[in-house]
Amino acid sequence: MPEPSARLCATRRYLLGSCAVFIAASMMSGCSASSLANSATDAAAAPPVQVTPGGWVFFTPEEAALVQVLVDRLIPPDPTTPGGKDAGVAVFIDRQLAGPYGTASALYMRPPFADGLPGQGPQSPLTPAARYRQALAALDQHSRDTFAGKVFREIPQDQQIAFITRMESGNLVLNGSNGRAFFEMLLANTKEGFFADPIYGGNRGMVAWKMIGFPGARYDYRDWVGRHNERYPKPPVGLSGSAT
C-alpha cells in the first residue's frame, strides 16, 4: 500500500488543483461553471444505489411471473446453488429496464433504421424495455395458442425448456420478429443479474460468486500472486459489504 499520508496528499493536492482549473475557466467563459454543476451529477462519479427488494418497478405482475420462470429455466436451481429466481435475477432485470439501460439513453437511436448484416451490430428501433414488453406478451400469447389457453408459466417444465430451445434456435416467431434476438438479450441480462454485484438486486447472498469461487469486490490480492495452484480461502465480499 502507498503510505496513507502520500495517498491523502495526492488526493488533496489533486482536488485543490482541479478546483482552481474550474474557477479559472469559469472566469474566462462561463462554460465551466456549468461544467462544474454537471460534473457534480455526472453518472461516472456517483456511488451505486442499492436495489431494494419488494414490488416491481417496470414489470407488470403478469410479466414478472413469466420472467421469474424464464430465469429459473435459464439458470435452474441445484442442490448447492439457487436458480435465477431465488438469486433475484428477475428483480435485477426489472430495475435495469426501469433505468437508463431500459430506455437506451446511452445508445444511438436516430433514424433511419435498417436491418443490417450481423457484423453491423444491433439495429433495433426499440428500447430494451419496449422489446421486453412486446416479447413477453407475445411469448404468453404463443403459449396460449399452442397449449389450450395456458400461459408459459402454466405449462410443464419440459415444454418450457423446449419452448426456450426453439427461441434460441430462431424457430419461434414472436410478434412478427425472430425470437432469437429476444432470447439473446434475455440470456445476457439473466447472466448479468446472476453474476453482477448484489447491489443491483441479483446474485442474492453472492450465491453465483460462491458457486464459482470468485471473491467479489476484494481489492487486494498481493499476498496471493505468488501462491500458485492454491485455492483462495476467503468468502466473497460485495460493494456494500460481506454476505450475511
Binding site: Y14, A20, Y200
Partner: protein, 588 residues
C-alpha cells in the same frame, strides 16, 4: 453566432494522454494553454474510488466510463458494396471520453514498436521483394526512426513508472527480457510485476519450446514510484479491475496519476470540460488555423482563437474533425488520392482457450498488464519466406481479470444455459484459461474513413464512416500465430485446447480491442500522408495531430507506448523548432 474569447497561445482538443503531455510540456515552455475536453473532469477519489470502482456491470457491461453512442458514434461497413449502418451500441472497440481519456481505463500494457516497424515498406521490400506484398496493401514508412524515438519512449516509460525487464540495453541483449526489442538507453523504471500461476507455466512451456518468454511491460506499479514530475503512484494490488475501469489505488499510470496533479497548478493552464469542439477554424487561405469553435454543456457556442491548435482527441474523432473542418484532402479509395481517412488500421487479435483437470489459476488475482509473453513471432522477428503473409504479433498468458459476467469459459459443446451450463461454469471457472495473440494490422486501399452520407450526430453534423475488413494477409497471420500459441499451450498439459483464430468478415459486435489507428498518417510525402514526421499538418502548419491517428499501419503491439513517445517527440519539435520559427518544419 459564437462568442469570441480572448486569444491564447495553444488550444488543445481533448485532454487524454497526448493532450496532457503536450499541455505539460508547453506550459513549462511558457505557453498559455487552453485544453477543451468533451467529457467530464475525472479524478480518482470521486470517480473511481476503491469503494465502487470494482463493478463489472457498471463499467464493463454498461460502459460506464466511455463515450456514449448517443453523443457520437460512427457508421460501419466492410466495403463499398454494403450500406454503412450506425454503431448503435459499442462492441468491437470502446471510444473513451472525459479527462484522462483512454488513459483512465486502459490495461497499462506499455510497448515499444520494433525498429523495423518504422520503415516497414522499405524493410519488407528489401528482405522479401516488392512482389511479396499484396497489390492493395498501402503500408509505408513513418519517416521517423526507432532511434529518434528512443529518448521519447524513455520519457513516457519514466513518466508512467513502467514495470518490466529490459531485453536490450545499449545493444546488449539482457537475460530474461525481450531479446527482439530495439536497443534502449537504460532499463525500465520499475522491476517487473509478480506473475501468477498460468503465466509462469506458460513461460516454462515457451522456454521448453525454444522461445524467449519475458514479463509484459506494465504501467501498473510493481512497487511505489515517484515520477520525474514528482507525482507518486502506489503499488498495484492485483485487484483484477483494470481495463474498462479506473484504478482506485493510484497504481495505474494515467494522466490523473502522472501529470494532471502538476499541470493543474500551472497558472498557464486552463481546462474546459464538457465542451465539445465542433470545428477547427482556418483563415481565408485555408493554410492557417485561427482556433476552434466549441459548444458548452448549456449549448452555447464559443470561439477560442489560438496561435497553435493541437488535435489530441481519440483517433477516429481526430479524423472526423479534420474532415468536418475541411482540412486536408479527403481520401478517395477509387483514385487512391487524398490523405484524410487514408490507411485506417486496427489490430488482429486471437485466442486459445484451455481447460485443465488439475489446476487452480485464481483468475481474479489479476492486473491489466501482468503476464508472460513471447515476441518470437512478432513483426519481422521470424523469417516469413514461404509463409504467404507478412506481419506478426506477441502471444502468451496475460491475466487481466476473472470477472464473472464475461469471464467464464465452458468447453465447446456446452449449452449456453440450463443445468449443464451452470455445472460447467462452476467446474471450469478456476481451472480454465484464455491465452491470446496480439497481431499487426497492415493498411489497405479499401480500409479507410470518410463522412457518412446519411447519419448525423445530435448537432446535425455527419458521422464518420468506417470502411474496414480483414484481409487474407492478416487472416493467414492470425491462423499461424494461433497455431504456434496452441502448440505451446498444449505443452502445459490441458485436457482440452480450443483455438480461436481471427476470421472474417470483420464484425463490429464482439469486443476485440480499442487499438484504432491511422486516418491522418505521418510520412515523408504529402501525397500519401497528412502529417510530416513531427505530426505537423502538411496543409496547416500551426496544426499538429497527436495519437495513433498518425500510424501508417499498426504493428503487433499495443499502441499507447508509441502514442506517448510520438507526443513527446512532437512536443520537443514544437518547443525547440516551431516556437523559434513558426512554419512548416519539413518543406513540402
Amino acid at each position: 453566432m459564437a462568442r469570441v474569447l480572448p486569444a491564447t497561445d495553444v488550444v488543445i482538443i481533448g485532454l487524454g494522454w497526448t493532450g496532457s503531455i503536450l499541455a505539460q510540456e508547453l506550459t513549462q515552455a511558457g505557453q498559455r494553454v487552453v485544453a477543451i475536453e468533451r467529457g467530464a473532469w475525472r479524478s480518482t477519489a470521486t470517480d473511481f474510488p476503491t469503494t465502487f470502482a470494482q463493478d463489472e456491470l457498471r463499467y464493463h457491461i454498461r460502459h460506464g466510463l466511455f463515450l456514449t453512442p448517443a453523443q457520437e458514434t460512427l457508421t460501419f461497413r466492410n466495403n463499398g458494396t454494403q450500406t454503412a449502418l450506425p454503431i448503435r451500441t459499442w462492441g468491437s472497440f470502446m471510444p473513451p471520453n472525459g479527462v484522462g481519456g483512454g488513459g483512465v481505463h486502459w490495461n497499462g500494457q506499455t510497448w515499444r514498436f520494433n525498429p523495423t516497424d518504422f520503415r516497414l515498406r522499405s524493410h519488407l521490400t528489401e528482405r522479401y521483394g516488392a512482389a511479396a506484398l499484396p497489390a492493395d496493401m498501402t503500408i509505408q514508412d513513418w519517416d521517423v526512426s526507432y532511434d529518434e524515438l528512443e529518448p521519447h519512449y524513455d520519457r513516457f516509460e519514466y513518466l508512467c513508472g513502467t514495470a518490466g525487464l529490459a531485453g536490450n540495453i545499449a545493444g546488449k541483449v539482457q537475460p530474461g527480457g525481450n531479446p527482439f526489442e530495439g536497443s534502449r538507453a537504460r532499463g525500465y523504471p520499475s522491476p517487473p510485476m509478480q506473475q501468477p500461476y498460468a503465466p509462469t507455466l506458460f513461460a516454462d512451456a515457451a522456454r521448453d519450446s525454444g522461445y524467449h518468454p519475458f514479463p509484459q511491460p506494465s504501467s501498473n506499479m510493481s512497487q511505489p514510484y515517484t515520477n520525474p514530475l514528482g507525482v507518486k503512484l502506489g503499488p498495484c494490488t492485483y485487484c483484477g479491475f483494470c481495463e474498462w475501469f479506473g484504478c482506485g489505488n493510484y497504481s495505474k499510470a494515467s494522466p490523473q496519476t502522472t501529470i494532471l496533479p502538476v499541470l493543474v497548478r500551472s497558472p498557464n493552464f486552463t481546462a474546459r470540460t464538457q465542451c465539445e469542439v465542433t470545428r477547427i477554424n482556418t483563415d481565408s487561405t485555408g493554410k492557417r488555423a485561427t482556433g476552434v469553435t466549441y459548444t458548452d454543456a448549456a449549448g452555447e457556442e464559443w470561439e477560442q482563437p489560438a496561435d497553435i491548435v493541437l488535435l489530441c482527441a481519440f483517433q477516429i474523432f481526430n479524423v472526423r474533425l479534420l474532415l468536418l473542418s475541411g482540412i486536408g484532402t479527403p481520401y478517395d479509395p477509387v483514385t487512391n488520392q487524398g490523405v484524410i481517412g487514408r490507411n485506417y488500421s486496427y489490430q488482429t487479435v486471437s485466442g486459445v482457450d484451455a481447460f485443465f483437470a488439475d489446476k487452480n489459476f485464481n483468475p481474479f488475482v489479476a492486473s491489466g498488464a501482468i503476464g508472460m509473453l513471447i515476441d518470437d513471432f512478432n513483426g519481422d522477428n521470424f523469417d516469413h519466406a514461404g509463409l504467404g503473409f507478412v506481419g506478426g504479433g506477441f502471444m502468451g498468458a496475460g491475466q487481466t481479470g476473472g470477472r464473472p459476467i464475461l469471464g467464464t469459459l465452458t468447453p465447446p459443446g456446452t449449452p449456453s444455459w440450463g443445468a449443464a451450463w451452470k455445472q460447467s461454469v462452476a467446474e471450469n471457472y478456476l481451472s480454465s484459461y484464455s491465452f491470446s495473440t496480439h497481431g499487426s494490422s497492415y493498411s489497405y486501399r479499401g480500409n479507410y474513413l470518410d463522412l457518412d452520407p446519411t447519419y448525423t450526430d445530435p448537432h446535425g453534423r455527419k458521422l464518420l464512416r468506417m470502411n474496414f475488413d480483414l484481409h487474407e494477409n492478416e487472416l493467414k497471420m492470425s491462423a499461424f500465430l494461433t497455431d504456434r500459441l496452441g502448440e505451446i499451450v498444449q505443452k502445459m498439459g490441458p485436457r482440452q485446447v480450443v483455438k480461436h483464430p481471427r476470421t472474417g468478415p470483420y464484425s463490429i459486435t464482439p469486443y476485440q480491442t480499442t487499438h484504432l489507428c491511422g486516418g491522418a498518417v505521418m510520412g515523408a510525402d504529402p501525397k500519401t500522408s497528412a502529417l510530416n514526421r513531427y505530426l505537423q499538418s502538411w496543409d496547416v502548419p500551426n496544426l499538429f495531430v497527436m495519437g495513433a491517428t498518425a500510424f501508417p499501419q499498426n504493428a503487433g503491439y499495443n499502441p499507447t507506448g508509441t502514442v506517448g513517445a510520438l507526443a513527446y517527440w512532437a512536443a520537443d519539435a514544437i518547443k525547440t523548432k516551431y516556437l523559434k520559427s513558426p512554419g512548416p518544419l519539413v518543406p513540402a
